[in-house]
Symmetry: C2
Subunit: 414 residues, 2 copies
């Protein structure tokens, strides 16, 4: 017997394909093969390898309407063969190794606007919406950045100016910009390994986590957010907290008079030529979970990456204000990021709810906590869209493989 | 003061447009303008004028995937101007009067395969899915009839042969045919005005009605159906009971190995050229509510009517077995219908979960309890698809206007 601390052991990705494990098959599925919302089985591993692609069966949702799909040309070239070395020397290998090591559900690589590689595993298909989780934030951040660029939203205004209900909360005297870059000082923790973390209260309020039977807490997002207390100083340092995104969603709803799903459809989904409706999980009063509730097909996720890579243009059409897109890629001050940024992202920053690398390629990412990614490398003219269901709700399991593998691919495509 | 019994009074349709009433507008909607699932406001009138078009925000759902939309040609002709006399001499008037009197949300009239008239009111749009309620049954009945015609399902077999779990229930020794035509003898009442009616237990089990906080009843449809007790004799007379449809859905799932949503997509939605995904409400283990949980766009409802009118063909393609469609139009024995059929439908019968008029035009209907309709008149080459949100959960409010108005239109189109 060793004295080493217990390290959670998870089956390899190849050994937890939800089809071969038989989850949710049969009428009804056998009791030990059921994945349900109320008993939290939908949040357990390996069940989440199924549930991440079946969110609308588990919670109420609202559609983000697409209109006319634009084609996605497939390249005549193949994906270059690359090798990567994992961060911290934790192995490495080829692209297939990265995919297996990080519980990849679906992956798409675009180069110069053409599909180089497309893969769907497990229960994923080209039309299956998968939960984007915090990749959702980059959509809301981009929409807010567009409103700022168009002069509809003043990033220097205080939150309470737009949402008086937040006046007494930790957000009230923060600026919109501080919310957009997550430098607010609030009493809110987001360690998914801690059952007492505030994020769980946030999610229970929004109905995206089951509630105890005698629950008497807030019953929707707008009921929860005013309860978040101040802690620390605004504008000093980046701290990753999902509540900021739902506050931003609230501000954007007040400014535009539109729901998140309506604005996303009008501003991005329809103009970029999405080929499927997306959807958001909603709370009991119909509010989209802007911070983590978006579900999309893989190709539509890649289309958004392409839209950003192309400076907000689709063909000759300037769909998003170029200044807003430029502001995302420019990033924020990496010095503000150092204290609380993930150790796998040294020198990065967080701007408009995008993770900005400041590397020589000018790459930036949208990141979800189980390995969902949009990775945009402007210099390599590369966009990677990836859905995953990594057992660990933190990117410490993904980054050591994905980051070097993505960059190695970018170098090969230069 | 009169001694007359209290008659419920409802505002006129024009006075309860959900947009002008301001339901679910704002961030968040004001407390008195919220429509929620858990407090049953989504089932109240006039809130249901909004909620019938927003089911997926209220309950978990699953998509019925469409593929390539087929066009729906618009006729150069206009809707003929007609007058109708309401059944029982309760007024009447023109088509607009019928629409107003019956709380019509959306209505489409097709003649010879072309759109003569199309209307969307309230919160309905051409792409909005509306709850079909018991119109859902005609989809399941048709699918089962197709399986019978193809020899995959034996209508003479007992239910327990396909679903052993139902052996001890009221359904066990009924035949599949008796389930398909709702002549089973079971202890199950479906008077929506009676809070003790068994239908509510059925819906609570499926999660499509809220449950009391200390609910300890069945938690999904397959948990509920085996508890339905026998009462009376099978095969003697028609009695309208939704449980039959969910039993049929179970049988069909066992025979095909497919979920209701997968079979509907493969057998009908994709081949008929639906232009939108439909969706079903699902229970806690992902089972579609076959008896009442389907939501579709209006045009897709009309497409199904056209598919039936065209003997199961789409253009030159025989999509559904012609024998199955013929068997629906042929109907069952009206003598079995008389005792328990609605008084507004004298001489009708119920076959494969379609309501068959046996009138000289050979018309048949799919009927939802708040006025949802597909009305197919083969002689007039007419299909009417209608969504409505009548305040009374029974067709006594709709039939006196819709039935004579539909028939008058058919006569005008001959």
């Amino acid at each position: 017997m060793s004295n080493a601390p217990a390290v959670p052991h998870f089956p390899a990705a190849r050994d937890c394909d939800p089809r071969t494990l038989g989850w949710m098959q049969g009428s009804p599925p056998p009791a030990d093969k059921r994945i349900q919302f109320h008993d939290t089985t939908s949040y357990r591993f390996p069940q989440l390898r199924w549930s991440f692609a079946h969110q609308r069966q588990l919670v109420p949702t609202v559609a983000v309407a697409h209109a006319h799909a634009l084609g996605m040309p497939v390249s005549a070239k193949n994906l270059p063969s690359i090798q990567y070395t994992a961060l911290g020397g934790q192995g490495g290998g080829d692209w297939a190794n990265m995919m297996e090591a990080t519980y990849t559900d679906a992956l798409l690589v675009m180069h110069k606007g053409q599909v180089l590689f497309e893969h769907y595993g497990g229960v994923m298909t080209p039309s299956t919406p998968h939960i984007a989780m915090s990749v959702s934030k980059s959509f809301m951040g981009t929409m807010a950045a567009c409103l700022v660029a168009q002069g509809q939203l003043d990033e220097h205004q205080r939150v309470e100016h737009y949402v008086p209900e937040l006046k007494a909360s930790g957000f009230g005297n923060a600026t919109v910009r501080q919310v957009m870059d997550m430098t607010t000082g609030i009493d809110y923790t987001e360690n998914y390994a801690d059952p007492q973390a505030e994020i769980w209260n946030h999610m229970r309020a929004g109905g995206v986590m089951p509630r105890p039977i005698h629950y008497d807490g807030p019953t929707h997002f707008y009921d929860y957010l005013p309860r978040v207390r101040p802690l620390g100083v605004h504008g000093e340092k980046f701290t990753y907290r999902t509540a900021n995104t739902d506050v931003l969603g609230w501000i954007v709803a007040r400014v535009t008079g539109l729901s998140s799903e309506a604005l996303l459809s009008q501003l991005i989904w329809q103009p970029m030529g999405a080929e499927h409706d997306a959807y958001y999980a909603v709370d009991s009063v119909g509010t989209a979970f802007a911070g983590g509730g978006l579900n999309t097909s893989l190709r539509d996720l890649a289309r958004f990456g392409e839209l950003m890579r192309n400076h907000g243009r689709v063909g000759d059409q300037q769909v998003l204000p170029e200044a807003a897109v430029r502001d995302c890629f420019a990033g924020a001050d990496p010095a503000q990021f150092t204290a609380n940024g993930p150790p796998t992202l040294p020198g990065w920053s967080y701007r408009n709810m995008w993770w900005v690398s400041h590397n020589p390629h000018g790459a930036m990412m949208a990141r979800g906590v189980h390995g969902q990614n949009i990775y945009i490398d402007p210099k390599a003219e590369m966009v990677i869209a990836r859905y995953a269901s990594h057992p660990i709700a933190a990117n410490i399991g993904n980054d050591p493989h994905t980051l070097p593998a993505y960059h190695a691919m970018a170098l090969a495509l230069l």
